[in-house]
């Protein structure tokens, strides 16, 4: 049986753990709000981009000689997967979910006889995949889900992917990331970046929609809009993943705090019982000693 001193020490340590987890929960909540605001602020650009792409895409559908970023290479052999995870842990199943999804996807693609390349963003995903698929990893990118996510980070990644696409280093590019549903739940989701699925054009579908003029030409616009769109898509997922990370951490830390509270109650009960037993034992000893006289 644990001694009173041991129990006191354990209660103390669980109490300080609870303090840490509850502080982390608060911090995550504050960061979550900021991350959500940023994700919302980035939405108008992405929406306008989608509108323009839809308008442009309607005219070019089915044409040949389209840019690689839009149409892909025409093959389906080499797949580039980009799992987006966080740099830090202690966020519940946040990273594990993406990692598992990536792993399943790799297995599935390899079973179909396709070549898989990996470009993990975020330390947690990179480290995990390094163990099993180190030969598939092209490079690891750190610094996702940090304090600030500058657009330049997404732009850099986008440029790199675009350059690789132009060189034909892969045929299909897919992002694996946590979609932010709400604070409680993030769903690991895949999104195909290349070839791009153009959004449906609901405006031009109506008969009296105005006819757009394009300056310079439609193709030039499309070819400069596409790389930009790639960057914006990546940026949006990075922001979403960052918000999700904070949400997941908040939930995980909330659970941890609650569990710590329960453990403290249980230990305190045990401590009091032990103390009571000790007193009773001492009393019995004294009384039986007195009776023996």
């Amino acid at each position: 049986m644990a001694s009173l001193k041991d129990l006191r020490a354990r209660i103390g340590s669980v109490k300080s753990t609870r303090k840490i987890t509850s502080a982390m929960k608060m911090v995550a909540a504050a960061k979550l709000r900021r991350a959500q605001t940023r994700a919302e602020a980035a939405r108008p650009y992405a929406a306008a981009m989608r509108r323009m792409l839809a308008e442009l895409g309607a005219g070019t559908r089915g044409q040949s000689g389209l840019p690689t970023l839009l149409a892909g290479t025409g093959n389906d052999r080499v797949h580039l997967l980009i799992p987006i995870t966080s740099d830090r842990g202690l966020a519940g199943g946040f990273n594990a979910n993406v990692n598992r999804k990536t792993r399943d996807l790799i297995g599935q693609l390899q079973a179909e006889g396709k070549t898989v390349r990996l470009l993990p963003v975020g330390r947690k995903g990179g480290d995990y995949l390094m163990r099993e698929f180190s030969d598939l990893i092209l490079d690891k990118i750190h610094g996702s889900g940090g304090k600030e996510i500058p657009f330049s980070a997404a732009a850099e990644l986008g440029e790199r992917i675009a350059a690789m696409a132009e060189k034909g280093e892969f045929d299909v590019c897919t992002l694996v990331y946590n979609r932010f549903q709400n604070v409680m739940s993030q769903t690991p989701t895949t999104m195909q970046l290349i070839p791009l699925a153009l959004p449906a054009n609901d405006v031009a579908a109506s008969a009296d929609a105005p006819v757009y003029e394009f300056e310079p030409g439609e193709e030039e616009l499309l070819s400069s809009l596409l790389p930009r769109n790639l960057q914006v898509q990546i940026y949006a997922t990075l922001l979403e993943s960052a918000a999700g990370e904070q949400g997941a951490r908040m939930t995980a830390m909330d659970n941890a705090t609650r569990n710590a509270g329960k453990a403290i109650d249980r230990l305190t009960l045990k401590y009091n019982r032990t103390r009571q037993t000790n007193i009773t034992n001492e009393l019995i000893e004294i009384i039986s000693g007195a009776q023996a006289l």
Binding site: A42, M52, V211
Partner: protein, 140 residues
Amino acid sequence: MSIEVEIVSPEKVLFSRAVEMAVIPGLEGDIAAMPDRAPMMLLLRGGVVELYENGVVTERFFVAGGFADMTATRCTILADQATALADLSVADAQKRLAGLEASYDAADKMNVPALDLLMAKMQSARAEIEAAGGEAVKAA
């Protein structure tokens, strides 16, 4: 009569208001967005967007390239990077221009798309210096 003008960068919405007219630096020349204009999409060069109200320029923004989507009632400017003119810094832009010029000199002269991209960036940096310098003179 007014037109809803929105200037958005990837990070946020910088400006969103109804104005009388917006003059936009198009790739092939400046273009004015006014109410009841035929819808148009254009590429932007680095330059200054000027917003007119009651016949005078009320706001100026520097945009470093991007796109614009104009319709009869609305004008959305998707800027790669947008800054209020007052926040521009000549020194920063000059430093960037110097860096770009160096990489232009070092670049492979056969790689035309890359050169075009560098040229566009240099043009944007020059326009930024000009925009920032113009403002500084006015303030003095």
